[in-house]
């Protein structure tokens, strides 16, 4: 018991000391972001540059867009970086958001098994592809987690006029309730189609039989916005430090850092704060 207490005190003393210090200086902020930004490795690459310049430590919570906005609405984050325009509009309308700004964009893609049972490869029409997948009853993995990607998928299905979850959809339409990486893992294991953002796809290391089947469709644009919290509604948020991060992300320096992030020679995010798309 004494040994345990000593070990705990030694180890935890360090952790708590660290924490108390960081808090008193107000030099850490919580950024609620999406799994697609975090899993792609972008934030791990660019945030150290910001921290080096300003001394502000950024703690990233990676959640789906829906959950990230909910976390911020509860006041548990200082700013958000998300990608679901409709959910963001609701967040703003409820008065949680302060300033909102687009900082980058890339695109969504539909990936699927190289055997392509629904014969959709090479098309540029996401809605037509989903219609074909549903007609062929080819396995399709859905995030089902209320994230930005999930919200887009639901919108695309609505445009096809079919409800995949209805009439025995479970046999081929598989709602896994997980993040982008989990969905890609599942699709890879089940040789299924799924909707992915390009960043997560490029950095994903367990592709198996999956290849890109649909890309370059206008409906698959993916824009990332950074939103500051409304200071009146969320006085606990660390406004000054959060604004510094938002401004840095849209500054020439931050934009250059975003644009310079590549995997295997391919650029993952297109900076867009200076010239909005």
């Amino acid at each position: 018991m004494k040994v345990l207490a000593l070990a705990a005190a030694l180890l935890f003393g360090g952790i708590l000391g660290d924490h108390a210090c960081a808090q008193s200086m107000q030099h850490s902020i919580v950024l609620a972001s999406t799994t697609s930004v975090e899993n792609s490795g972008l934030l791990a690459r660019i945030l150290p540059l910001f921290t080096k310049k300003t001394g502000i430590e950024v703690r990233v919570i990676a959640q789906g867009t829906g959950q990230a906005l909910a976390t911020a609405a509860r006041g548990d984050a200082d700013l958000v970086l998300v990608h679901d325009p409709e959910a963001e509009d609701r967040f703003m309308a409820e008065g949680h958001g302060g300033k909102r700004r687009q900082i980058a964009w890339n695109d969504f893609i539909i990936v699927g098994p190289n055997t392509d049972p629904a014969h959709v490869t090479g098309g540029h029409d996401a809605v037509a592809a989903l219609t074909a997948i549903a007609a062929a009853r080819a396995p399709f993995v859905s995030r089902g987690d209320n994230s930005g990607t999930d919200a887009l998928e639901k919108r695309l299905w609505r445009k096809t006029g079919t409800d995949p979850a209805a009439n025995g959809g479970g046999a081929w339409y598989r709602d896994i309730g997980g993040g982008m990486g989990a969905a890609l893992n599942a699709a890879s294991a089940m040789a299924a189609y799924t909707l992915s953002d390009r960043g997560t796809w490029l950095s994903f290391n367990n592709k198996g039989p999956l290849v890109i089947v649909i890309e370059g469709a206008p409906a698959l644009l993916n824009r990332y916005d950074v939103i500051l919290l409304d200071p009146a509604k969320h006085p606990a948020a660390k406004q000054t430090a959060a604004r510094e991060l938002a401004e840095w992300l849209s500054s020439p320096e931050g934009q250059a850092a975003i644009g310079a992030y590549t995997i295997a020679g391919e650029q993952l995010f297109r900076p867009s704060a200076i010239e909005p798309q």
Binding site: F12, R59, G179, N185
Partner: protein, 201 residues
């Protein structure tokens, strides 16, 4: 070997230290709270003792994600304990794991002390020892099984992922532990790395 190539060695050490620090602190807190209560349940005779014992044993199966969610709501800035700023910090993770380990250490500690209490209880009471003092003596008499109870509590905390993922937020370099690293690396499709992360430490 790809583990060392892919994951910075210092990062990995930090992750291991944090895991040990959080889980040992949680186990210590849980023992501090659980053992006296387990002992009291053995030594004091009161109405409802049987029900309380059953409840304590039932809490052995407390699901980590339920504890995680409950603490999330309590510690959130808009929750009742929000002013302490413990959400998404190692301190919050300690609280969550201590909540999980307390019933384990309490229930197993209760079992450990029950036997010696039936055997020596009368003798100790005749000698004039108060019940709180008897609990301290029982803890000493039943030392090996009590230690097992504490170890079982530690086993629960160090292997746990559901509660700390919700309460800690899996923040790189701050609240990322061994188990949450494995969840993250698996979701990135780095299956080999998440496996060797466990296998080699």
């Amino acid at each position: 070997m790809d583990l060392w190539a892919a994951l910075n060695k210092d990062d990995l050490l930090d992750i291991i230290w944090l895991s040990l620090g959080v889980s040992l602190s949680a186990t210590f807190l849980a023992a501090l709270v659980g053992l006296p209560r387990g002992g009291a349940l053995a030594v004091y005779d009161f109405r409802g003792r049987r029900g309380l014992t059953i409840l304590l044993n039932g809490l052995l199966g407390l699901p980590p994600v339920v504890v995680g969610l409950a603490l999330y709501l309590l510690l959130s800035r808009s929750g009742p304990l929000g002013q302490f700023g413990l959400l998404f910090t190692p301190g919050g993770m300690v609280l969550a794991q201590a909540t999980l380990a307390t019933p384990i250490i309490g229930a197993l500690g209760h079992r450990a002390m029950q036997g010696p209490w039936h055997e020596y209880g009368d003798a100790l009471r005749v000698d004039g020892a108060s019940r709180p003092r008897v609990i301290r003596m029982l803890l000493r008499i039943a030392r090996p099984p009590v230690l097992t109870a504490v170890l079982a509590g530690f086993g629960r905390t160090i292997s746990e992922v559901g509660a700390i993922l919700i309460v800690g937020g899996n923040i790189a370099g701050y609240t990322r532990t061994m188990t949450t690293t494995i969840v993250l690396e698996t979701s990135k499709g780095n299956l080999r790395r998440s496996r060797s992360g466990w296998g080699s430490c």
